[in-house]
């Protein structure tokens, strides 16, 4: 294992464990303060969006809104499949098939 990857995995482990045991230690008598609660509620939506949208709109580092951008086309279809099916296998299967087909042309 590469040592820089090992340290990253170890770091991820430590911060993740902190979030898991943290509440038992920090907020055991008080509960989580309301403002943190409100803020954290929207972290998943915000972070997933921040990962998905640029990876579809700027797959090569520059803004590419055109039919040549396979990621964007496959992404729009996959979003529709995910919305209709809520199923990871269907979404992955259809999305990746589209990527594969587009690459043939």
């Amino acid at each position: 294992m590469r040592s820089e990857v090992f340290y990253i995995i170890l770091g991820m482990t430590l911060v993740t464990y902190f979030t898991r045991i943290g509440a038992l230690a920090l907020f055991r008598f008080t509960g989580v303060p309301t403002w943190i609660n409100r803020w954290l509620k929207y972290v998943p939506v915000a972070i997933l969006t921040a990962l998905i949208v640029p990876s579809l709109l700027l797959p090569k580092g520059y803004l590419d809104i055109s039919l040549n951008n396979h990621y964007l086309i496959a992404g729009i279809v996959a979003a529709f499949v995910a919305y209709k099916s809520r199923n990871i296998i269907a979404t992955l299967g259809i999305g990746m098939s589209i990527m594969f087909v587009l690459k043939l042309f």
Binding site: T19, R20, Y42, I47, A50, M96
Partner: protein, 240 residues
Amino acid sequence: MQLSNLLAGKNELAEEAWVALRECAPVVLGVVPFGITCGIMGLTAKMSGVETISMSVIVFAGASQFIGITMLGAGITSWGIIILTTLLVNMRHLIMGSSLAPYMIELPFPLQALLAFLMTDETYALTICRIHKVRYSALYQLIVSTAFYLVWVLSTVAGVVLASYISDPLTWGLDFAMPATFLVLLIPLLANRISLIVFGAAAVVSVFAALYLPGKWYIIIACLTASLIGGLLEGDGEHA
């Protein structure tokens, strides 16, 4: 008399264990495709099999593993961004932990530490349901969490093995696995007005920041801005 009490106690434990296994089965099976995807993504991102699997063994947090792998694949080997993003993604555990704290506080510390390590969205949800239906049971939580952990690790291994048979994953469109997986996680969350606003804000900020800022800082900046907007809107809604 004592013996029969003991036997009755044992039966009760066996009953609890059986209920736990039965109730977690569908949830645990549901995680298999995610684990396999995780293993495949690891190799696609040029991580070794051992690196990918050890991440599942010691980090054990699906969403942040996908994010970490994606970032490593994009050539980010600087700590800061990956660790900070992992922290942000997993901050939600604090909320879950604090709602279980009143029950778990009674347990011996090593058991608390173990159950905390094994806590995930899914096993938290099962444990809370059990509390509402019957009462808190550490045995139930332990069985559900352990089953979830084992299946996560084993399905990651399966993904790694599967991916090692594919010569060039990129030609098969496998790099699309990341956005597709995140879409499946994201779309059910967009169920109300504030979530849609947060989505819009994160989309706009992340695209602009990706254009003008170096590295992957756009992820953290967009996440902080959009989630704060969400929190503030939620606060306003409660006052009105």
